[in-house]
């Protein structure tokens, strides 16, 4: 019991906001904060970030920084749309993965074989991907109806959707089943309804592709921590010269890591197309590759951590899409949270921080009182500002792979 209390108070940064959101969500205007619809949207929006984050994980565990995730994701969106248009939805997903993997391979060639600075190569990959996607789109869909230089035609078919029977009211055969969680959600009981809404979001109207993506989280744990291959990959990120001396093929491991990383980023991109818009649109990734990277940092290089981080960003994204009023409710959440922080830092005798958070708290309160909604343009960058805020609270205890970003050349000790 004491232990639970201790973790709770250590992780107040995570739990306090959750609790505050729950309380604010009881007010009618802000009830959208915790409906199953919002959570469902959050899941859909979190998946690309999750996949990008997992992609970053595979690459960075082998010691290669992958800023090029965004570019690989762009390739995923285009190849996903092309494959989806030519062959069908699932084929599109696969082809999108291949497109991402190809760019992962290019990143691997540049950083591993030629020891180019990882960030320089990543930046170049991002620029290359944007150019290639644009060019391919112009070439491939030149005379196709509903296509332009920045958009592809709609893909064929869809990914099937799944709803859990009994818990979320899915069908068995033709007959309807009882919707347990939905019923509880509609009862409006504090906490209980919100929790069932949360699970309902995961269990109803969920694409099989989403389930596949979620399954990759435990699979990644398995691969990276419980297989010889995973051990070799991680060892290469920690101490390449030592791994080399034990007979590990360092270059091969890095190649595998970065290519898997590209494939996952490609999957993230094709998810945006196949399970989202149905077409490729230029600029569709909107920095999600970088947010994925941020969720990896937030998750402290652990797959389930990445899941949590991407869930958070997906939630922020879902709010901005579904209900700008609900985002307005977040203002009071931030204000109260900062007030709590004010007291906490005051008792810890960090007066400067205390005064600062008090001022910000007051400012947010004023903003909350004097407005009824947040301007659309502000709502648009909710996920990005969430990224910065979350990272600035979470970043101190990150355990990076020892030799991250250090180019390794065979036979050199570094």
């Amino acid at each position: 019991m004491k232990k639970i209390f201790k973790t709770l108070s250590n992780r107040y940064i995570v739990f306090m906001p959750v609790l505050l959101v729950l309380v604010v969500a009881q007010v009618e205007t802000y009830s959208q904060l915790t409906t199953s619809g919002t959570f469902g949207a959050a899941v859909r929006l979190a998946i690309p970030i999750l996949l990008a984050g997992l992609g970053g994980l595979y690459s960075e565990k082998t010691g290669v920084v992958n800023i090029g995730l965004e570019g690989m994701m762009i390739m995923g969106t285009w190849f996903g749309a092309w494959g989806g248009y030519t062959f069908g939805a699932w084929q599109g997903v696969f082809i999108g993965m291949l497109g991402g993997a190809l760019f992962g391979l290019i990143h691997a060639i540049a950083t591993v074989s030629f020891q180019v600075d990882h960030i320089v190569s990543g930046v170049a990959i991002n620029i290359l991907a944007a150019g290639v996607a644009r060019f391919l789109n112009v070439i491939a869909f030149k005379d196709v109806q509903y296509a332009s230089s920045t958009a592809s035609p709609r893909i064929q078919g869809d990914i099937e959707i799944f709803t859990m029977p009994f818990l979320a009211g899915g069908k068995i055969g033709e007959s309807e089943t009882f919707n347990l969680l939905g019923t509880i959600e509609n009862l409006d009981i504090f906490l209980l309804s919100d929790i069932s809404a949360f699970f309902l979001g995961f269990l109803s109207n969920i694409s099989y592709l989403t389930l596949f993506a979620l399954a990759l989280v435990p699979v990644s744990v398995l691969v990276l921590w419980f297989t010889p291959l995973g051990l070799q990959m991680r060892s290469v990120g920690e101490y390449p010269a030592g791994s080399e001396s034990l007979g590990v093929n360092v270059y091969l491991m890095k190649y595998i890591g970065v290519t898997i990383s590209g494939a996952l980023a490609g999957l993230a991109g094709s998810y945006l197309v196949v399970a989202g818009t149905g077409t490729y649109l230029e600029g569709q990734t909107g920095g999600r590759g970088f947010i994925g990277l941020a969720s990896m940092l937030f998750g402290n290089y652990k797959p389930f951590g990445v899941l949590m981080g991407s869930g958070l960003f997906g939630f922020a994204d879902a709010l901005q899409l579904r209900s700008p009023q609900a985002v307005h409710g977040l203002l009071i959440v931030i204000s109260i949270f900062l007030l709590i922080l004010t007291f906490k830092t005051f008792f810890e005798k960090k007066y400067k921080v205390s005064i600062l958070s008090f001022l910000f708290s007051a400012a947010f309160l004023l903003w909350f009182m004097n407005s009824t909604s947040i301007p659309n343009q502000f709502v648009y960058f909710t996920p990005h500002i969430t990224t910065l805020i979350v990272l600035s609270f979470a970043n101190q205890r990150i355990k990076l792979p020892e030799k991250i970003g250090v180019p390794y050349k065979k036979g050199e000790i570094n």
Partner: protein, 359 residues
């Protein structure tokens, strides 16, 4: 001896250019176009008088943007946020500059100062986040780009929108005559062509300023030493945290100038269709020019040439997007070959040194 290495390191961009042209030709062949004919048309169109003025005009913001990026690169700091920084600076400068009217030089100087201050403050946020919160500058500057875009969209429609305008889209009021930069056409005696931006002079000054700052001042020395050996830099008494913030501010200050060439020379106001993407293009130019003031100038002119000369391609039924591919190819291949040649030179130097000790 040193001369030899200089010549060798020059070969990297040449190899990269050759390979990129080869790759692009291959792609053109695949889509059924004649590469020779395509490049001939591009060159022919790109070398007309009008095109040359346009190329120089396009290269000015590219060059300044490259310099902004290069200041960070010199110490191993990746300011990917030049994009957001210059847009923020330009918007505020366009708004404030349109509020009053004084003699031209002072007016323009004032606009420049406003843009520089706003951009460097925006960049400083990323510096602060890196130093105090340990957020990598690549992530923070990218996020700040998106936040900046949102803030610009908001303030352009509310705060900075031209009052009583019957124009549909939001835009700032036009700069008064005194706030417009005169063109250089009279100076070069080319009055039959379109305006050659007067900001060219500023761009050249910025190049010189950059050279002086990085190679002739203590700050520049600190930047370079931190970039090439952070540990040695720390032992020599450089405060890396302070330096990160300063470098970010200086980089942002240069970024502030990026949008001013189009603003003062052509648009005279901030509108929705104000050119974007110059910040990202600058990263490519800086990589291509290896952060050298002269190399970046050549890189900026090259990219501007490709952009301009590709405009003719659509008329010849070749997708002009091939130019974007070419730029990207050049970039990726050049970073690979710089590294290959750097390693080659280091090897040679070691060999030379051991030869000398043997003697």
């Amino acid at each position: 001896m040193k001369m030899r290495f200089r010549v060798i390191s020059l070969s990297a961009p040449i190899i990269a250019l050759t390979i990129s042209f080869g790759l692009s030709s291959l792609i053109l062949l695949v889509i059924g176009k004649d590469p020779y004919e395509t490049f001939r048309i591009m060159f022919e169109y790109g070398s007309t008088g009008k095109s040359i003025v346009s190329i120089i005009n396009r290269s000015i913001p590219l060059y300044i943007s490259a310099i902004a990026v290069a200041v960070g690169f010199k110490m191993g700091l990746f300011n990917i946020g030049v994009e957001g920084q210059y847009l923020m600076g330009t918007l505020v400068a366009a708004y404030i500059g349109a509020q009053f009217s004084i003699v031209t030089p002072i007016h323009i100087l004032f606009i420049i100062i406003v843009a520089v201050v706003v951009s460097s403050m925006w960049a400083a946020i990323a510096g602060y986040l890196k130093v105090e919160k340990g957020i990598h500058e690549v992530i923070s500057t990218i996020m700040l780009n998106y936040i900046g875009t949102g803030l610009i969209a908001y303030s352009l429609t509310t705060l900075f929108d031209e009052p009583n305008s019957n124009y549909d889209l939001p835009r700032t009021a036009e700069l008064p005559e005194t706030g417009k930069m005169p063109s250089l056409n009279k100076f070069f005696n080319i009055e039959d062509l379109q305006d050659l931006h007067g900001f060219l002079a500023v761009a050249i000054l910025v190049g010189i300023l950059y050279y002086w700052l990085v190679w002739k001042t203590t700050l520049g020395f600190d930047l370079r030493i931190t970039g090439s050996n952070p540990i040695a830099a720390k032992f020599s008494g450089i405060n890396p945290k302070r330096l990160v913030v300063i470098a970010m501010i200086v980089s942002g200050a240069f970024a502030g100038l990026v949008g001013l060439a189009p603003l003062l020379g052509y648009f005279h106001r901030y509108t929705i269709d104000f050119p974007t993407g110059l910040g990202f293009a600058g990263i490519g130019v800086a990589l291509l020019g290896r952060n050298h003031p002269f190399g970046m100038a050549v890189g900026a002119l090259l990219f501007a040439f490709l952009q301009r000369s590709a405009q003719i391609l659509d008329l010849n039924d070749v997708p002009k997007e091939i130019e974007k591919m070419m730029q990207a190819f050049i970039l990726l291949i050049v970073v690979v070959f710089y590294e290959v040649i750097r390693r080659f030179i280091v090897k040679q130097q070691i060999k030379d040194a051991s030869k000398r000790t043997d003697e």
